[in-house]
Point group: C2
Chain length 426, copies 2
């Protein structure tokens, strides 16, 4: 019913995702027969590496110019990863009038404005579905909707969610579970990108860029990973009716944008709190209160390759790039100004008057306590017990000052832990 | 960044949704300023009815030709509802080269092929997002994906979900809860469309039509509503670890399609089983195992009007209709051939040997029992107790024959109840 079109492809990268794309392109699908995708060239790092899919050797090259300078190639698929030279390749391809499809959230998070501007200037299609595979199905709605989003929360990192789920399930702390995750390939040898929140931040920035036309600078976002979460905290949270997730939170109020990534307590039993293992999910509410939730895989060969293929169909269809009018007037809220609820864990001496001292400091900082959980004696150090408090809504600056004071109290040992508490949307 | 375009609109219907559209169109949105939507005419039934939004009287007419025959109007929005004359208006508008945006799932479920064919023949945009507001964000992915869906389950009717949730919460039976739902406007005075499954069937048919290019005929679908579900069944299901939902189920295997609507037990604690009140949701898995879930409102002024506005932006963007190559070779599986698990409730005499007799008949029909729940004595009729059985996977034909035999046993009183048991996908 749609008119068939021939798309001539240049592929950068032949790892897991690149291999998946080659595999999919070679599979004939009835419903796609009217479009034809011809893979003209693949740029790889090493010509003689063993591949998971059979690829004729004449397709392989190590020279990017064999794609970029070839006028026959109208569409570039970039799945090589990394910042450089991926960024330069994407921009160069667009400048030469080629459509670009990329899975590279790290590049988009850092150079999204520049890349989208170039795509619009060159009147090229820029496909970024694969950069946010768990959420891209909502993006068009975010752009097309007459209503702007008001709040979104997301679990965007499968590695963190897997680690937190396993910590809960096995009753172990962060380090041994991370090690196991590395052994089975669910975490990288250098896991920082995932567990310190960068990957989540990249995805949130791309999402905001697509929804608002504004890519907040990576280093302006508050970002805290999951390294400090203990198995104990997971248990305490559970006792209080919550589950701990690494959460991306964004909230828009008029022209002010709040965007942050950190572990958070979410109420048990609904929505994102229910995500287990490597699953990803998002919940969002727009300014008239319409609420949507979505769960989908956040990584993997087929999900990613599928997202790329969907963008290829868009190219074949002659789709124009959709992109909102940039909102350059948006300002990013300073973290100290945000208001939320808090889970606080203090390591306190097991003696009379401790609660009064801690809650006195909190009171002095306008922080009111919702509930207190005081647990039996800890093993080490002796005489020290964990005291857990849930606060009512408070200002981040106030909490941070209060914690500095509390950590200096004689009756408190070691650094106190703070985890923010968020409401699910659904 | 996108070039602005002027769209001239004709609106059919000025009820809740129509009023919402008028309201939204009158709100200026920064990100939509580059497109202009001019409402030229509104066809209503009664000129002098009181409206929730102020509309200049010169815009109103009762004569459809004032829109259809006006060459200035390039886009028709149909939110009048009902089958006729909505169907004729949609087809006539398309024949005259006008884009059509409709929320009318009842018409699409009955005449989807004809309407899509006309839109393609006339090279017009046909926007149907508002006909499936809980799921339309996934539709494009269903069409664009290189993989076909393998299974989907959905909770598509807010009225039924509200009634089932309230039955559970209040411990009351179907009839009094329906009455309350009618009083607060969550159920129609004639509730059959919702509670007997028609609305769910319409949405499933449209979804399948968009995903597969094949709109299964409404009367070929197995459809069973929620009238026979008792509060007792909800309790028994809970005891067994399940929750009862009115479910749409579709499964595609090669060229065979299974599509059915009926109450179903879903395992507690995840996905659609967690939907409360008027919420809608869907879960689906494609042929390579990628799983997606989505929750969203299934009705309401703003969600529906928003979906319409998103289609209007598509029109302004010059989007072409996307529609899969029709799969006319699909065959619909006969209900008797499906295989699933079953919850069976028998009203049995409270005497020795009853279980043996019932399970004997089941065994004769190749149905094996997974678990049995026998409850204390019922109030009425005296001496009769409910016996609940969960079966392993069995064939629908076998279950139906077995139930006919069992209902004729001396020890069984009244008609036994069967509820199918489905696995959630997520």
């Amino acid at each position: 019913m749609m008119k068939g079109k021939v798309v001539h492809l240049g592929l950068f990268g032949l790892g897991m995702v690149g291999g998946g794309i080659v595999e999919l392109l070679s599979r004939k699908k009835g419903k796609k027969d009217h479009h034809k995708f011809i893979l003209e060239k693949i740029v790889v790092k090493h010509l003689d590496k063993e591949r998971s899919v059979p690829v004729p050797s004449h397709l392989l090259t190590t020279d990017p110019r064999e794609i970029l300078a070839n006028p026959e190639i109208d569409t570039v698929v970039e799945v090589m990863g990394g910042i450089s030279p991926a960024k330069e390749i994407i921009l160069e391809a667009l400048k030469r009038g080629k459509n670009v499809i990329t899975a590279n959230k790290a590049v988009l998070a850092r150079a999204g404005s520049e890349i989208f501007k170039q795509a619009l200037d060159s009147d090229c299609y820029l496909g970024v579905r694969a950069s946010n595979i768990a959420t891209y199905r909502l993006i068009e709605s975010l752009i097309f909707s007459p209503f702007q989003f008001e709040k979104l929360i997301g679990v965007f990192n499968g590695t963190c969610n897997y680690i937190l789920t396993e910590m809960e399930k096995r009753g172990e702390d962060f380090s041994p579970i991370l090690k196991k995750a590395q052994e089975i390939g669910y975490a990288e040898q250098n896991p920082s990108d995932d567990i310190d929140g960068y990957d989540t931040a990249h995805k949130l920035i791309v999402l905001l860029g697509l929804a608002l036309g504004y890519f907040p600078p990576l280093d302006s976002l508050f970002m805290e990973g999951i390294r400090r979460i203990s198995h104990q905290d997971i248990l305490f949270a559970k006792e209080l009716g919550y589950r701990i997730k690494l959460l991306a939170v964004a909230r828009r109020e008029d022209n002010e944008l709040e965007a942050r990534i950190h572990p958070a307590l979410l109420p048990w039993g609904r929505g994102l709190a229910g995500l287990d293992g490597i699953e990803n999910g998002i919940e969002l509410r727009d300014e008239v209160g319409v609420e949507i939730g979505m769960q989908a895989p956040g990584a993997g060969k087929y999900p990613t390759a599928t997202a790329i293929l969907e963008d290829l169909v868009s190219v074949a269809q002659g789709r124009k790039l959709i992109y909102p009018q940039p909102k350059r007037y948006l300002t990013l809220k300073r973290m100290g100004q945000i208001k939320t609820k808090y889970y606080l864990r203090f390591n306190a001496l097991d003696e009379a008057g401790v609660l009064a001292k801690i809650s006195g400091v909190l009171g002095d900082h306008n922080i009111s306590i919702k509930s207190v959980l005081q647990k039996g004696e800890n093993k080490k150090p002796p005489g020290v017990v964990p005291v857990i408090m849930l606060t009512h809504q408070a200002k981040e600056d106030d909490i941070q000052s209060a914690l500095r004071k509390i950590d200096n109290l004689r009756v408190v040992k070691g650094k106190s832990l703070l985890i923010r508490v968020e409401q699910g949307i659904l």
